[in-house]
Symmetry: C2
Subunit: 246 residues, 2 copies
């Protein structure tokens, strides 16, 4: 049995987490139709749980190693893997009878693509989303940690006008991405890949941040209409798959 260690919130399943990286793994597990369970963590307990399992840190900060969500433990093979891309590479290798999400040779391309979703195509919306978090669905421990880790910059006060502009620029950049992907359903044409799950993951972060009140829900529904409804079709394709969570 695969256990996915994910970030807890007060929102009910299936939209409980807001970690785009954990979402990627949910998505991949569902596309692979692999049964799994979720173990919910809060920021202050990520490092100790990772160390207990032997999940390696995913990066280095000036004050030491950094342990992050997601990591998985696979009791069938007794392997523990951190980092969404490495988790998916592991699953492709360990379960060769399931759909391959990272076709050999495309690792670097998909890694750069997955990173570019936020840093290039969604960058304009980053400050807009950032100011709405932590929201009422954060647990107390996560909210406290989040505020320390991502303190609001008082110089970054946004006006109604600048927020509107940010949404416009985001829509336009996402339109460029839609054009680059073209008419076929997935980033790699008719073949689903890790890159689609990365897109779904970042969109799900957006959904988490927006799905707070009527205005946010309306905004989400608008995004789902953008670019001929292509993002809605992508989300729908994922949601129509059987949920393999135990």
């Amino acid at each position: 049995m695969i256990t996915l260690y994910d970030l807890n919130t007060l929102r009910p399943d299936p939209y409980r987490t807001y970690s785009p990286h954990a979402w990627k793994v949910h998505c991949v597990l569902r596309f692979k139709s692999l049964p799994y369970q979720t173990f919910w963590l809060e920021y202050p307990s990520i490092e100790s749980k990772a160390k207990e399992l032997g999940a390696p840190p995913t990066s280095t900060w000036s004050d030491g190693s950094r342990y992050t969500i997601p990591f998985i433990h696979d009791s069938t093979t007794n392997k523990v893997i951190s980092d969404s891309l490495l988790i998916v590479e592991y699953l492709d290798n360990a379960y060769p009878d399931t759909i391959t999400l990272i076709t050999p040779g495309t690792e670097a391309l998909q890694s750069v693509f997955a990173d570019a979703i936020w840093t290039v195509y969604m960058k304009d919306i980053d400050p807009v989303i950032g100011r709405t978090l932590p929201n009422k669905f954060f647990t107390e421990a996560n909210a406290e940690y989040y505020r320390k880790w991502a303190p609001k910059d008082p110089n970054e006060e946004m006006t109604e006008e600048s927020i509107k502009d940010s949404w416009k620029r985001f829509e336009s950049r996402f339109g460029e991405l839609a054009e680059t992907i073209g008419d076929e359903p997935f980033v790699m044409g008719n073949q689903v890949s890790f890159s689609d799950c990365a897109l779904i993951g970042w969109l799900m972060l957006l959904r988490f941040a927006l799905w707070d009140d009527d205005k946010g829900k309306q905004r989400w529904n608008e995004i789902m209409e953008w670019h001929g409804g292509r993002w809605k079709r992508l989300i729908d394709t994922y949601e129509e798959l059987r949920d393999t969570r135990i």
Copy 2:
């Protein structure tokens, strides 16, 4: 015979152009071992030549269509194609006996990768390189056009310190890219692709800007040593191929 329409400078071949997009096509033609000739244009004559041949514009500016380098004319098929990615897709299809540079299904991934080279991994060096252009190898017409099109921002004056920092950040980001690509020679492992030619193209722009004086040459040689010499190996792989230019 394929004719590649490229941007003229005063630098002798094979380093005559500084257009990263034209470089991509030189690279692809050489990897495909397809004979071709070059037709050198200056900025003010790009649009008229493109229109004369029927090469479509590559983007829209507020004041109308924008015609850019490179475009090709293939007299064998009598086709005219603009935009480096579309040119390479055309060559893959028209010359199926040559190496495929864009494996079907990877178009969007390679397009995003090629764009991310400059906008993500080289972005820190953009203002440093920008201030050295136009240099003494620009023709008069190109220099005049370039100054109008990319006027220097007086607020962007850089200090020795900020230039040093930019180089450090560029080296660090390129290090991340090197790590993402891994130990194999090409972005897609052992298989060369459009993405490698995009890397070579942007590096060649850097070479053009640096290869002015001893300090710049030294800087270029340092880059060639970075990250275990992996960028030098990439450039060498390209340069060791037979030049198929007529």
